[in-house]
């Protein structure tokens, strides 16, 4: 069976309800359901292995070559299509897998503005600039909590100092891996 020229339908974080019948009708209307099921299972399995290992190009080539040599494996045309698909979608698929494994709160959005305090109980705060930051926190796919915080110049400096520490740790980490 010739390899499909079209890209498979985009999968939205694994939540898309695409039936096998829909795919067969779209891609291989002349194929028998059994034949299509086998093809789909084979291709799906290969992509799952590739995505799970987050293969780079070398690993991908070695993997696909081995598959073409196997009994009941894939044709070199099919290998070419799979390779093209993975090259085009690797980053997005990996990002989706990363997000799926994050079950804590994330920072979904952040907005800020700077105000001038014109009235205050404390005289020394008149005409001091203050940053108002709104953070949208929540788990992926769930309702958000909106957190609104005030930062004066000193607090922003304090924040920047801590963020610099984080950045240094991150750099050290990515240099050693």
């Amino acid at each position: 069976m010739a390899a499909a020229e079209q890209q498979p339908p985009a999968v939205d974080g694994g939540k898309v309800d695409i039936t096998e019948e829909l795919l067969r009708g779209q891609l291989y209307p002349e194929a028998a359901p059994e034949e299509f099921r086998a093809l789909r299972a084979k291709m799906g399995g290969l992509l799952q292995s590739i995505a799970s290992a987050d293969m780079d190009l070398n690993q991908l080539e070695a993997f696909l070559t081995a598959q073409t040599k196997k009994q009941g494996g894939i044709t070199s045309d099919q290998a070419a299509v799979i390779a093209k698909f993975w090259k085009n979608h690797r980053v997005k698929i990996h990002e989706s897998l990363v997000n799926q494994s994050c079950w804590d709160n994330v920072l979904k959005n952040m907005n800020w503005r700077v105000d001038l305090k014109s009235q205050s109980r404390h005289v020394d705060q008149i005409n001091t600039p203050v940053a108002i930051v709104e953070m949208e926190l929540g788990k992926y796919g769930q309702e958000s909590e909106f957190l609104c915080l005030e930062f004066d110049e000193a607090k922003v400096s304090q924040m920047l100092k801590k963020l610099t520490e984080i950045e240094e740790s991150m750099t050290a980490l990515t240099q050693t891996t």
């Binding site: 897998l97 799926q100 994330v106 920072l107 600039p129 915080l149 924040m159 984080i166 991150m170 980490l173």
Partner: protein, 185 residues
């Protein structure tokens, strides 16, 4: 609450002389009315009347939104106004409110209310997610932060969240921009 809202809307409509506008609405084709677009239709409606109709319709929908009226409640209120609107106008209002009503309704859900507070401190932890049941080779670094926040009563709470490297870079960049603006103000 529902019955009261219907009465409120009815009174509002009567006060706005919907009856007067109703006569003009008869002149406007259904589609045009539904979209409230100012297109030339070859019909003699002067600007003043059009403004009145537009005002009435927006008042109608905004009152319905503020009182969270269902489509039935809205149509009931219209039905009891003195000069009943023509049937096709009611159909259009029903259709528009069915489609758009939920999105303009004012929500009383407290889920979205902002918590206002003072930033006190930030604690952080850097980790690497190696592997998961869906992906054996995740290998992504992420930072977990705990923001220490004081609310208006002085109570301290910790707000925790995770950031991937790109998310963190963006977070850092925003605060640098903030510092720059604070300096210049």
């Amino acid at each position: 609450m529902a019955a009261g809202s219907v009465v409120l809307l009815t009174r509002a409509l009567e006060a706005l002389d919907v009856g007067g506008a109703a006569d003009k609405i008869n002149l406007i084709p259904q589609d045009f009315f539904a979209e409230l677009r100012l297109q030339t239709s070859g019909i003699e409606v002067n600007v003043g009347d059009l403004a009145k109709i537009t005002n009435t319709v927006s008042f109608l929908f905004s009152t319905a939104a503020r009182n969270n009226l269902s489509t039935e409640e809205l149509i009931t209120a219209l039905g009891s106004t003195v000069n009943t609107l023509p049937k096709h106008a009611i159909q259009v209002i029903r259709h528009v409110w069915n489609e758009q009503g939920k999105s303009v309704g004012v929500s009383e859900d407290k889920g979205n209310m902002s918590t206002v507070g003072q930033f006190v401190d930030i604690k952080w932890k850097l980790g690497v997610a190696m592997s998961s049941d869906t992906c054996r080779s995740l290998k992504y670094p992420y930072v977990t932060v705990a923001l220490k926040v004081a609310d208006s009563s002085g109570q301290i709470t910790n707000k925790c969240f995770e950031m991937t490297v790109p998310q963190f870079k963006n977070f850092f960049r925003q605060f640098k921009e903030m510092a720059a603006v604070l300096e210049t103000v």
